[in-house]
């Protein structure tokens, strides 16, 4: 390769490199601007008809600007001297090439020309290595092209323009996720009713025609659900428990006042006091109500004081019990634990069962009827237990450890099955009175009838329509009978 060809090629490449440097930076700038423009269009514009021209413009304009910049810069002459010196240093020519150029420029007929040309001829073959494309240019080029591609994707590929950037497709699967979240919240200690209510509220449009929702819709639905919950006083189960606790406290105050009054006047309870206590204890647990009956039956001041003390102890025990299992992760003693005092879990849990007046066959805490014993025994009664089928003993039923325990309900072990095959936990909830019968050495059958439940329904002042629904439910799960 002779000197003239080499210098011409080097000059040409230097122009191209300079054009590439400018063009790549222009592409980087305009490509970035195109990407921003695409993003803005996607966020703000609504005219889908303009998408095609927009894509074309975003692709063509930056590339066009870069190409024009390249062409303009590449056409301008470059100072070859310094570039040749770069080539000299890169190829180890000790400034011979640039000196040759200087000689050719100023004294083309110099006797030194041929000598220098001979010295550089061998190395000129590799002149291209001395002028690589700079990494900055390559990086700018890559980023610019990527920006343009991103702009095009933003406009053309990623769905209709009407969709805002904040949109998130809401599918039934997402609804299921909401339900799953509700189930998780249920598992964390909330009542099943509350969790189910949230799940239903969170997916109000679940139906065959509702296949996809937008985030705004879901948020609106969630807002409604939240509002509903607020309207109803928050989580129903929690409210109920709170109300029950509030009534308990109110009953406690009445007991304290009555005790003070009886002690002061040394007279039994008045009719007004009895009515007030009865009204306050209407939703209290069965042991509390039984203790209240003793209070109401007392005829002397001394008997009244003793009965009030027993009632107070029963109430305190009932509240303590209702607060303990409030955390879904708290453990409930199992049968084995009750036997040997250990804390093993044998696939059974304890069901909180209300004990009403008619449930005499299932005294969950015998000692509760005797106030003088219950405070001392309360902690051990739960742990002791008896074998399933024992008369008067609690019968195990597996309903899961997450069952919340409203005030007034006590834990009982219930059978794991009802009838021959049914699972009790699948059909029953807290507060359902069961009757258990020993049907052999091991088998225990559980019975439930709406007649037993009706008193509870009536005491809670449930409307007749709901009571009818409850009746139908129990007739359904008991197949028409018990």
């Amino acid at each position: 390769m002779n000197y003239c060809d080499a210098v011409r090629a080097i000059e040409c490449r230097a122009r191209r490199l300079r054009g590439t440097a400018v063009g790549s930076r222009l592409l980087l700038g305009t490509g970035g601007a195109a990407a921003l423009a695409g993003l803005l269009v996607r966020l703000l514009a609504g005219a889908e008809a303009a998408r095609g021209p927009l894509v074309a413009a975003l692709a063509v304009v930056p590339i066009g600007i870069a190409a024009v910049g390249y062409a303009l810069v590449a056409r301008r002459p470059v100072r070859v001297g310094p570039i040749l010196l770069r080539v000299d240093f890169a190829l180890g020519l000790d400034a011979r090439l640039s000196s040759l150029h200087e000689l050719a420029k100023t004294r083309p007929g110099s006797f030194l020309f041929g000598r220098l040309e001979k010295e550089v001829a061998a190395s000129l073959v590799e002149w291209r290595k001395a002028l690589p494309v700079s990494r900055r240019s390559l990086a700018a080029l890559a980023v610019g092209v990527a920006s343009i591609a991103a702009a095009i994707v933003l406009i053309a590929v990623a769905g209709p323009l009407e969709n805002s950037a904040g949109d998130v497709a809401y599918t039934p699967a997402a609804g299921e996720g909401t339900t799953a979240a509700a189930e998780r919240s249920e598992a964390s200690g909330e009542s099943g009713e509350t969790a189910a209510g949230l799940a239903v509220d969170a997916d109000p449009q679940a139906g065959p025609e509702a296949t996809e929702y937008r985030l705004d819709d879901v948020l609106a639905d969630l807002g409604l659900a939240a509002g509903s919950a607020e309207d109803s006083g928050g989580i129903p189960g929690a409210v109920e428990v709170d109300e029950l606790r509030g009534e308990g406290q109110s009953l406690e105050e009445l007991i304290a006042e009555a005790r003070a009054r009886v002690r002061r006047d040394e007279e039994p309870l008045t009719v007004e006091e009895q009515e007030a206590l009865r009204a306050a204890a209407i939703t209290a647990a069965a042991p509390v109500r039984r203790a209240l009956e003793d209070v109401l039956a007392a005829s002397t001041a001394t008997e009244s004081l003793d009965a009030l003390d027993a009632l107070s102890a029963s109430l305190e025990l009932s509240r303590t019990f209702s607060e303990e299992p409030s955390n879904g992760s708290s453990r409930v003693p199992t049968e084995q634990e009750e036997v040997d005092g250990s804390e093993s879990v044998a696939g059974e849990a304890l069901l909180a069962t209300p004990e009403d007046d008619s449930g005499g066959g299932l005294p969950p805490f015998n000692g509760l009827a005797k106030p003088e014993d219950e405070s001392a025994r309360a902690g051990t009664e739960i742990a002791e237990g008896t074998e399933p089928g024992d008369e008067g003993a609690p019968v195990p039923v597996d309903v899961g450890p997450e069952s919340a325990q409203p005030a007034g309900f006590v834990l009982e072990r219930t059978p794991t099955g009802v009838g021959e095959t049914g699972e009790v936990k699948s059909y029953l909830t807290v507060g359902v009175p069961l009757e258990f019968e020993q049907e052999g050495s091991d088998a225990v059958s559980a019975r439930v009838s709406f007649d037993r439940i009706e008193s509870i329904v009536t005491s809670r002042e449930i409307s007749p329509e709901v009571a009818e629904t409850v009746r139908k439910y129990f007739e359904s799960i008991t197949e028409g009978g018990t």
Partner: protein, 327 residues
């Protein structure tokens, strides 16, 4: 028109000259090279060094090797300009009396101005015209000096009492300034051997002709220097100025005045001569590096702080060299 053969001839002549000088002068390669560069560039050299280091021998050997006329002027405080350049004297010839110009020692090809700083400024300035213009004017008559012409002036840096430091304008007229270092032990032993054995030192026979020196001068000026390297030298020179954007921090702190444009000219010319002496047909960065300090050191004037702190100009130039790059 210079041809390739002329080039080879010039290369050969100076190769022989260097070899011949090497047979007499032990060591002092930088000084020998500086003297030859000055000879090739039509310049002059300021040598700085203590007495007894062989400066006179070097100059005499150079003149002898080239077959050139040599003269030595010992500068003293009572030396008069006429003692250097010559004077008109009255002579009588054929019954007619008239003034005849009697040439001074400056009329030679190689002039050694020994301890030039001991003469008065008036006498020192008598050398200016000879060094720069290569002419001598006496009594209204101007006499051209015979080419090749080179002045090698020496300064003694240790005995400064009763001396007259050269003014900046005169120093600037020296192409190069170099320091004559004390010889190393092997060199000292070799010097002792050559001067104490046999017949002692004998000046060499001429190995190059005057015409070859003049031809070599033309060749040197033909040697190309790349545009980028010329720009590089310009930046190096500018970097010696405290107000220049190229100046490193030390220059900004310690320099009062940087090198003049004459410095850039000297550096490029000297680089060309250095390339020629190295047998190359173009100037390379190594050539610039070799002459950078000798060509610029005596053109830089330190400020008071630089003087007070004992800053060496060579160190400043090394800093400049490190901070200014060809590309």
């Amino acid at each position: 028109m210079i041809t390739e053969r002329d080039l080879e001839s010039a290369f050969g002549a100076f190769a022989r000259l260097r070899e011949t000088i090497g047979t007499v002068v032990v060591g002092h390669d930088r000084v020998v090279r500086a003297a030859l560069i000055a000879l090739l560039c039509r310049g002059n050299v300021l040598l700085e060094g203590v007495p007894g280091l062989g400066k006179t021998l070097l100059v005499r050997t150079l003149a002898s090797g080239l077959g050139l006329e040599f003269s030595r002027i010992q500068f003293t405080p009572d030396l008069m300009p006429a003692d250097i350049v010559g004077t008109d004297i009255i002579t009588e010839k054929d019954g007619h009396r008239g003034f005849v110009f009697s040439r001074g020692p400056v009329f030679a090809n190689v002039v050694l101005a020994d301890e030039v700083n001991r003469a008065t400024p008036k006498t020192q300035s008598a050398l200016l015209e000879a060094m720069e213009e290569r002419t001598v004017t006496v009594g209204g008559n101007t006499y051209a000096l015979d080419e090749p012409y080179v002045v090698l002036a020496t300064q003694n840096p240790i005995e400064m009492e009763g001396t007259y430091p050269l003014p900046e304008a005169q120093v600037d007229r020296f192409l190069l300034k170099t320091t004559v270092e004390y010889p190393s032990l092997p060199e000292l032993v070799a010097i002792a051997e050559r001067t104490t054995e046999g017949e002692g030192i004998r000046l060499p026979e001429p190995v190059a002709a005057k015409d070859e020196v003049l031809l070599a001068r033309e060749v040197v000026r033909e040697i190309p220097i790349a545009e980028g390297l010329r720009d590089y030298v310009g930046r190096l020179v500018l970097a010696t100025h405290p107000g220049s954007p190229y100046a490193p921090q030390k220059v900004r702190e310690f320099v009062e005045y940087g090198a003049s444009p004459r410095g850039a000219i000297a550096a490029i010319l000297a680089a060309k001569a250095h390339a020629f002496l190295s047998g190359r047909a173009n100037v390379q960065p190594d050539d610039i590096e070799a002459v950078f300090s000798p060509a610029l050191a005596h053109r830089i004037i330190l400020n008071f702080r630089g003087d007070a702190e004992g800053i060496r100009v060579d160190d400043l130039l090394a800093d400049v060299w490190e901070n200014v790059h060809p590309l």
